[in-house]
């Protein structure tokens, strides 16, 4: 439970600095800062001509805590839940010990930037991938906690979403260690801060909403009604409405269940489009029901046309009237 907007880099390690571990004596050359959070700073570094990421903190315990999580992830077979852990050590500098750990460098844009570049058709694909990873993470007894687009990197090709910051990752049943308000169900008055799969699924649904509202928004009253309205007023989200709302209300017990529902909703949202196309092409309707729909569509079309016609006439007449008045004045 740390906040995520605090202090800019507690230390400023310049590029070119060589960091040597006190215990394992590995030497790392700092290349640049990749990011910082409440629990430390992450640097891109070089080790034996290989790019790695180093996370440093003057709070040794938070480093140890994250290392514990990454070690436990490593035991989960055939998965890529977080970055893989390469080394843990202390750096003795200026008479102080700075704890750090070294991990695989996961390179790519974050989830929101990726979707903004490539288009909204990627949203569901990436969320499906994410839910797959979450399912494995939950099965191994953890909850990711601080799930947000900034912590999700899309690597590739082939494009694959990866979680990068395990600072909020909490053992199931405990209180969530770290979160960001917008993605936190407690903030929206929609649940507790107990680490359980539903907590992450809520955040996943908020990430979907976030793709349409990249600047996020703040709570007015809290509760489901406020979020429902945001979903219903977005044409990109409306097709996933049921899935998003169920996740927000904690109706899914597992990531698999939500994933399944998301897949279903995509198949369903394809269906009406396809059938309406068929309807337009084939004149003899198969059933009475579709006739009604079609007629209604035609009526609506005619209505729309009528409105356009009226607007045109009004515009032309007012134009002529204006010219007439103008002529009179001169």
């Amino acid at each position: 439970m740390m906040m995520n907007h605090s202090m800019k880099s507690q230390f400023n390690v310049r590029s070119g600095t060589v960091i040597e571990g006190k215990w394992h004596n590995n030497r790392y050359v700092i290349l640049k800062e990749l990011g910082y959070g409440a629990n430390g700073v992450v640097y891109l570094s070089k080790f034996n001509n290989q790019q790695v990421a180093i996370k440093m903190s003057d709070n040794g315990m938070s480093i140890t805590s994250e290392v514990n999580v990454l070690k436990s992830f490593a035991k989960v077979q055939g998965s890529a839940l977080g970055p893989s852990l390469l080394d843990v050590d202390d750096w003795a500098v200026n008479g102080k010990n700075i704890s750090f750990y070294v991990m695989e460098y996961i390179h790519g844009p974050d989830l929101l930037s990726f979707i903004q570049q490539k288009g909204p058709s990627w949203t569901a694909v990436l969320i499906l991938q994410l839910l797959n990873d979450l399912a494995k993470l939950h099965d191994s007894g953890w909850v990711f906690g601080d799930l947000k687009p900034e912590n999700l990197i899309v690597t590739g090709p082939p494009s694959k979403v990866r979680c990068i910051d395990v600072g909020g990752t909490t053992m199931q049943g405990r209180a969530i260690k770290e979160f960001t308000e917008f993605y936190d169900r407690g903030y929206w008055n929609l649940g507790t801060r107990k680490a359980e799969p539903g907590y992450d699924l809520f955040a996943a649904a908020m990430i979907m909403i976030n793709t349409v509202y990249p600047n996020r928004f703040t709570k007015k009253t809290g509760g489901i009604a406020e979020l429902k309205e945001k979903v219903q007023t977005s044409k990109e989200l409306i097709q996933y409405e049921e899935v998003i709302l169920n996740a927000l209300m904690g109706k899914y017990l597992s990531a698999k269940e939500m994933r399944h529902a998301l897949l279903e909703s995509m198949n369903r949202s394809d269906a009406p489009r396809a059938s309406s196309r068929v309807n337009r092409k084939s004149p003899p309707p198969v059933s009475g029901g579709s006739t009604v729909t079609r007629t209604q569509q035609n009526v609506r079309k005619r209505k729309n046309g009528g409105f356009f016609e009226t607007a045109c006439i009004v515009a032309v007449i007012s134009c002529l009237y204006f010219l007439y008045i103008y002529g009179q004045l001169i």
């Binding site: 439970m1 805590s65 290392v67 405990r174 209180a175 407690g186």
Partner: protein, 245 residues
């Protein structure tokens, strides 16, 4: 490992004290009695001056706690972060002391090789999850705090939400200063739930001086009074006393 109950005072203020005892000394007194003092400086359009800042840092430092100065809109996240951070800090101290007894001399967790720290951290995490916690929230209600009070209320609720997600028991009490007649006034007695805070906060009046030092001293008394009262009751009794404000 037995840790007893963690005791914290959370002071929410927006400036310097101007009456009574030195609050930094009172915070040191709290620390001597095993009570941690955390301070949050809250700003809105105003900025906390140098003097206020050094007092805020000073109180937290001599009270063995954590301090943070934030804008009102970040208050919720900060309150729970500061509380958790101070808890971990205290528990680390307890664990370090135990380690010293086991390993001898001046060994701390940091002196262990990284491979062995993991298990120690697991102990600290486990304690943080299960330990009993008492937080006395002390809110500055001098005139300049007026428009910040709704945010303060939100933040206190949010804190109870975070802490009640733990499996350990929590008790909160809320005090404001200056009080109507005294330096400090009790709004809410020790309770695990804070729902009743809504109606109480609505009736709150602000104004007057900022007697931070006396308020801290009174708050300490309250911890002690409660403990001696509790001694009379059975241990497993839910210590939830109603007293009219």
């Amino acid at each position: 490992m037995k840790t007893g109950t963690l005791k914290q005072i959370l002071l929410i203020t927006d400036g310097c004290s101007n009456q009574g005892e030195d609050p930094i000394a009172m915070a040191a007194l709290a620390k001597e009695q095993g009570i941690t003092v955390n301070v949050i400086g809250v700003m809105e359009n105003d900025v906390i001056d140098e003097k206020g800042m050094s007092e805020i840092e000073g109180i937290a430092m001599s009270g063995g706690g954590v301090s943070q100065v934030v804008y009102a809109k970040q208050l919720s996240q900060t309150v729970q972060m500061v509380t958790r951070k101070a808890m971990t800090q205290t528990l680390q101290g307890v664990v370090n002391k135990e380690l010293k007894e086991i390993l001898g001399s001046s060994k701390t967790v940091e002196d262990l090789p990284p491979e062995q720290r993991g298990e120690v951290m697991e102990v600290v995490d486990e304690l943080g999850e299960t330990v009993e916690l008492e937080v006395l929230i002390l809110v500055d209600t001098s005139a300049s705090m007026k428009q910040k009070l709704p945010t303060v209320k939100e933040a206190i609720f949010d804190l109870s939400l975070s802490l009640n997600a733990r499996s350990g028991d929590n008790r909160f009490s809320v005090f404001v200063f200056p009080g109507k007649k005294k330096d400090v006034e009790k709004l809410l007695d020790w309770t695990p739930r804070l729902e009743s805070l809504n109606s109480i906060f609505a009736k709150l009046t602000v104004g007057g001086i900022t007697p931070t030092g006396p308020a801290l001293r009174e708050a300490l008394q309250y911890f002690k009074k409660k403990r001696s009262l509790r001694g009379l009751l059975s241990r497993d009794d839910e210590s939830f006393y109603e007293e009219s404000v």
